[in-house]
């Protein structure tokens, strides 16, 4: 009973701490991000296809399939997923 109560309090503290961290990180990123960026007329370089973060989705799809089947890690850039019996 006492052990369960302690565990419950610990979990609540842990959840609260995580929420606080998330809030702080989000606030810092939001305030930091608002001073970054460009005006709409300054996007000529960023508008290039090769500046897209995933400019070759077919290559990424093939690479993800290879590394998913040959290594123990997956995801990050996109869903960790599965979808084949290769691993």
């Amino acid at each position: 009973m006492v052990i369960n109560l302690v565990k419950s309090i610990n979990m609540r503290i842990h959840t609260k701490t995580l929420s606080l961290y998330a809030l702080v990180i989000f606030s810092v990123l939001s305030s930091g991000c608002s001073s970054l960026g460009v005006e709409p007329w300054e996007r000529n370089i960023l508008a290039k296809k090769e500046m897209l973060l995933n400019s070759s989705p077919i290559d990424s799809s093939l690479d993800d399939h290879i590394y998913f089947s040959k290594e123990s890690s997956s995801g990050g850039k996109s869903f960790a997923g599965g979808g084949c019996g290769c691993n």
């Binding site: 960023l46 973060l53 123990s72 990050g76 960790a80 599965g82 979808g83």
Partner: protein, 423 residues
């Protein structure tokens, strides 16, 4: 000649459009092939003396009037060749039963046991619909189906993203769910039972659990994309994945050896039936005066104690005829807490054991080069070649007797060749 080429390209596009419309079940406007853009690729993957795979992808994208985007993708791949079955090499010839139980194969003295039974063809279909909800919000949802001889995967996904700060900042949240069913050749073995000699009637119930099993995967992905300045864009992702169900590989075994390192029995492996995976990912693209640097890093960890680092860098250099793109990728992973290259018969046996080198400690290096050129009508043709080397490492366990002189962690070399055409 040019007219012929244009006509051929138009015909292929029309054919693919009709096929796509048929797949959708709405062929009313099949003549509107000009609205579709197709990306196609043919890839060959070949390991020295092991697995080879050929994969074909045809992806069609159509942008509708209100910027709604429909993407349909068909993937077909064929796999053949040999794969390490987890057993240790021995100073004598070894005989292993094939997964069906009906046949066997032998492995030469000193060679890593490779099961050459692998032969499979896979068909995968993906559909994704993306649309703006208003000026700030974009939503996307999709489905996938993947079928191979002994495996079926059905899945769906959904995500929403919001633009802030004059569209310089974007945050996104998404989920994916998939239900996979595995019906391996020769059924699912009972963990830690012995591989039996071949039987003309196939596998027996003596060491078989059932004919199929399944697993469920639930993924969450949160992202932040930020434009830094006119030349730089950056992305941060966090992903969480929960997998429950059958995560053991029914084709993998682990050798039980005595104090002299001589194999006594070959036992089927056993892995935990759940896995929680996490990763953080960072990517930056920076436009120099002409070329572009694309660099990313991923840190991955899970509750099997696997931790990994992945660094990937590409350098896009425009040329008068197109572009070249050198690529380097470095990967390093720790071993899962249940990885053991072999079992010593006198030691107590753990609840979970796998000798699959893919859950062991390893590093991997990929070196690649891509060349792309733009043809008529902005059609793009590209070629990519990559060399991939995996270097598995020992987990420090002492190799008894005859195993002292055997390389239990040989490196694996592979070549990846790809041709892509977009029109």
């Amino acid at each position: 000649m040019q007219l012929t080429k244009k006509t051929q390209s138009k015909n292929i596009k029309q054919l693919l459009t009709v096929a796509t419309c048929t797949l959708l079940g709405t062929c009313a406007q099949a003549e509107e092939f000009k609205d579709w853009k197709f990306d196609t690729a043919l890839m060959y993957y070949g390991e020295t003396d092991r697995v080879t795979a050929t994969e074909l992808i045809v992806s069609g994208t159509r942008v509708f009037d209100n910027d709604e985007v429909l993407n349909l993708k068909v993937t077909v791949d064929s796999l053949t060749g040999a794969s390490a079955n987890g057993a240790v090499a021995q100073p004598e010839v070894q005989t292993f039963t094939r997964p069906s139980g009906k046949g066997d194969f032998t492995v030469k003295a000193g060679d890593t046991p490779l099961d050459d039974t692998f032969k499979d063809t896979r068909l995968q279909l993906n559909g994704q619909w993306t649309q703006s909800l208003n000026s700030d919000y974009t939503a996307s949802s999709g489905i996938h189906l993947s079928k191979e001889y002994d495996y079926l995967s059905l899945g769906l996904n959904g995500s929403i993203s919001r633009d802030f700060n004059r569209k310089n900042t974007n945050i996104s949240a998404g989920f994916a769910f998939s239900q996979d069913t595995f019906s391996p050749e020769g059924d699912i073995p009972i963990p830690f039972t012995q591989m039996l000699p071949k039987n003309e009637n196939g596998t027996t119930s003596a060491n078989r659990l059932k004919s199929s099993d399944d697993k469920k995967t639930f993924d969450l992905l949160f992202g932040l994309t930020q434009i830094i300045n006119r030349q730089m864009v950056m992305q941060f992702n966090y992903s969480h994945s929960q997998v429950d169900g059958y995560l053991t590989d029914p084709f993998k075994i682990v050798s039980e050896v005595n104090q002299l390192g001589i194999t006594q029995r070959q036992l089927y492996e056993n892995r935990p039936d759940s896995r929680t995976k996490n990763s953080v990912f960072w990517q930056t693209k920076y436009h120099l005066s002409h070329s572009i640097i694309d660099i990313s890093y991923r840190y991955f960890w899970d509750d099997w104690d696997i931790k990994s680092h992945t660094i990937d860098a590409r350098f896009h250099v425009p040329l008068s005829t197109g572009y070249i793109e050198p690529h380097i990728r470095f990967y390093a992973q720790d071993a899962a807490n249940f990885y053991q290259p072999f079992i010593v018969s006198s030691n107590p046996q753990a609840s979970y054991i796998s000798a699959d080198y893919r859950v062991g400690e390893m590093t991997a290096l990929t070196l690649g080069l891509k060349y792309g050129t733009t043809l008529q009508n902005n059609n793009e043709l590209s070629f990519r070649i990559e060399l991939y080397q995996q270097s598995p490492k020992s987990n420090g366990v002492e190799q008894p007797g005859v195993l002292k002189n055997i390389d239990l962690h040989p490196s694996i070399k592979a070549i990846i060749a790809q041709m892509s055409y977009s029109f």
